[in-house]
Structure formats: C-alpha cells, structure tokens
Symmetry: C2
Subunit: 222 residues, 2 copies
C-alpha cells in the first residue's frame, strides 16, 4: 500500500490526513487495490453502486449506453481522480454507466458504507474523510450549477458574457484571466468555436471588452 502513498496524497479525498493515519484508515476500511487490463470493466452498468473508486495509475472511461444500445463516452478518468462517488453516496440502485479501462490501470476501491459509517472509536481522521467527501460533492454541485446557469442562455453572446461576468466578479477586477483557450471555452459554453471568435471580435468592435489571449477586460458598463 505504501507505494501508492504519493498518488493517494494528491487525492482530494484524503486532504489533511497524515500518512500514518491514512494507511491505518485504508486498512480499517478494507480498501482494495485491483489491476485491470485494457478493456476490462471496473464498474458495470446496472449494478448497485457500492464502491468509491480512486484511479492510481492508467486511464479509464465512463461509458454510457442509451435505450437502443448506442454507446458514448461521458468522461475520462486519470490518476488521482476519484469516481463513482456520486452514485455510491446517492445509493443508486442501478448505476447508468460503466467504467472501463482504456489502458491498463490500478484502482483502489473503498466500500462507501465504510466511509459513511464511522467506526466505533469515532476517530478524528475518519471525520476528516467524510468532510472531504462532502466538500468534493458540494464543490461539484456548485460548479455544475454555474455551468447550467451559463449554458442555459440562448445565444453565444449571452453565454460568453455570462461566463466572463462570472470570472470578472470572481477575480474582482476589471482585467481577468480565464483558464481556457478558445476551443475549450467554446466547448464549455457549448457553442461553435468560430462563432465564439466572431462574437469576441464583435464585442471588441463595440468597445465593450478588450482581450489578449486569455486575458479579458470590460471597458464599459453593459
């Protein structure tokens, strides 16, 4: 287990827990490490979600089948990401996705029940673990909610402005940076890249904002 300490410590789930306690805790919770070859199924659709997964090495994909069996890749999982936590915590009776190794990988599996139900001695680091898991879910909630708010606007211009206004407010400054290049921003906003570029140019010509690469600046009140 020790050889995985370095990667485990990068995992938000274990924030603020000392090496010693982490190792003790993993044993106490019966954490298992399993290796999967390429194409092997880590979590199978339709099962109940019992385990939280932690990717230690390699890569996997979240795969979804629709009603007619059309397959689509929802997300890519690399170390040190955790996965399956929402389904496990929601006690989903049947998860709608599979997680499949896209290259050989090592995964730590922890029974979610062992996380949620603190052991009888009510140890402080176990509380920290619950706290971390809760924070992880809550943070994702906020991010999802913000994305929905932004992408629910109907036009590219509105989406872009909504996004930039969030970032400006967040950084509390007239001039601010965004963590995306044009293509990534277009993907986030769910619009066409060229249309996005055109809209940025238009806002520039109108004197509303200025931009150089990832740095934007509002010039006027809307």
């Amino acid at each position: 287990m020790e050889k995985y300490l370095k990667i485990l410590k990068k995992c938000s789930l274990f924030y603020g827990i000392s090496d010693d306690n982490l190792l003790k805790m993993l044993t106490c919770m019966g954490a298992k490490i399993i290796s999967f070859d390429k194409k092997y199924t880590i979590f199978a659709e339709g099962n109940t979600a019992k385990y939280i997964g932690i990717m230690l090495s390699g890569t996997a994909q979240t795969v979804q089948m629709d009603y007619f069996g059309n397959r689509s890749v929802i997300s890519v999982i690399k170390a040190p990401h955790i996965f399956g936590e929402a389904f496990a915590c929601a006690e989903a009776e049947s998860v709608p996705v599979s997680v499949i190794a896209s290259e050989p990988c090592e995964v730590m599996l922890i029974d979610c029940g062992h996380i949620l139900h603190t052991c009888s001695n009510n140890c402080g680091f176990h509380q920290q673990l619950i706290f971390n898991l809760m924070k992880d879910l809550a943070t994702k909630n906020i991010m999802f909610h913000q994305k929905i708010e932004i992408t629910s606007k109907r036009t590219t211009r509105e989406k872009l402005l909504a996004y930039l206004l969030f970032r400006a407010k967040e950084q509390g400054a007239d001039s601010f940076e965004i963590p995306f290049d044009r293509q990534a921003l277009a993907d986030y906003l769910e619009v066409d890249r060229s249309g996005l570029s055109a809209e940025i140019s238009k806002l520039r010509r109108e004197g509303i904002l200025e931009c150089r690469k990832n740095r934007f600046e509002f010039l006027t009140k809307l």
Copy 2:
C-alpha cells in the same frame, strides 16, 4: 420547535430520524428558527457560508448580482426545501448569491459545522443526518450531470431524443411517461417550445415515436 415537526419531517435532511431524536438533535446542534419579513435578507452575498437553511413557511428567492450589478433570480425556495447546503459544505469563503424573503417566511438555520462534526457520543441519528446530507448532494450531482449531458447536444432534436432515451431506459419500457408538460420540457431542454412541438411532430411523421400528452413510445430503433 414541536409545531414545526410536521414540516421538518418532510425534509429529506431528516429522513429516518424519529421525532424524539430529531428534537433532541436540533437542540444539540443549536438550530435556530428565525422569521423574516418580505424583502429581508436571509443570506447575504459575500459572507461565508456557515449555515444550512430549511424553509419552514413562506417563500424566498436566490438572487445573484453580476459584475455590473445586474440582478437576476436564480431559484425560488419554498417549504420544506433546504438551501445553502452546497456552499456550506464546500466551505465557500464567499457565497455569490443572496437569499431574500419574497414573502414573510420562517427559516431554520443550522450551523453546518455542527452537522459535519459529530458530537462526542457519536450518536447514530447524527450519522443518519450526515448520511442524508451526503445523499442529497450526491443526488443533485447526478441530476445536474444528466441535465448537462442532455442540454449539451446542439439541436432540439438531439436534446429531445437524448432526454427521451434517458426516460425510456430509466423506466425500462417501450412506453413511458415524462413529468413535464411541453413548456416545462422546453425549459428543461433549454429550447423554444414551438420548435419542440414541431420536432415532436416531425419524429411522429417519421415513424420514430408516438406520443399522447406526457406518454411517449419509441416505434423503431434509431
């Protein structure tokens, strides 16, 4: 406190906790009940998120200001909804929204720290409470994620089919119901209602699906 028992028991946060334990627990956690007149601020933007709110009666709105001070209503809160839980659990240093009473209302406030840090006697119902809160966040995560997946499709047709395929799969049947009328479905999919109606008609003419009010049925493999 007893007079609010009926409404509190409807709150998912307290699922599976007996009346006795619930009342004891609320006292133990220092839950406060506060009344707000119309237009009063329950949570103010910019503060740290310390409390989880439970609406006991009346109505409030989640309000957001953008960088330039333009105000928009994000959501409406009625009993027995809880609110602020994501910000509190994520330990947001500064919440980006205000919650403002839109009619006189009564709100229960619980310090989130008192929920997350179990009391020294490690009582079982406190674990249940943590469990419920986690489940609430996780369930919302799954719902948000699904909505993002559906609305990230680019055309009305794709959005509609993605949504219907989810519902069909969920109900495991050729014929299935949806919980929306046309306008609500259009809002969920973030498309125009008339365009949605047109698309449904088109799918009908193409022999792909049949529908009568809220009941849909796929006729062919895509």
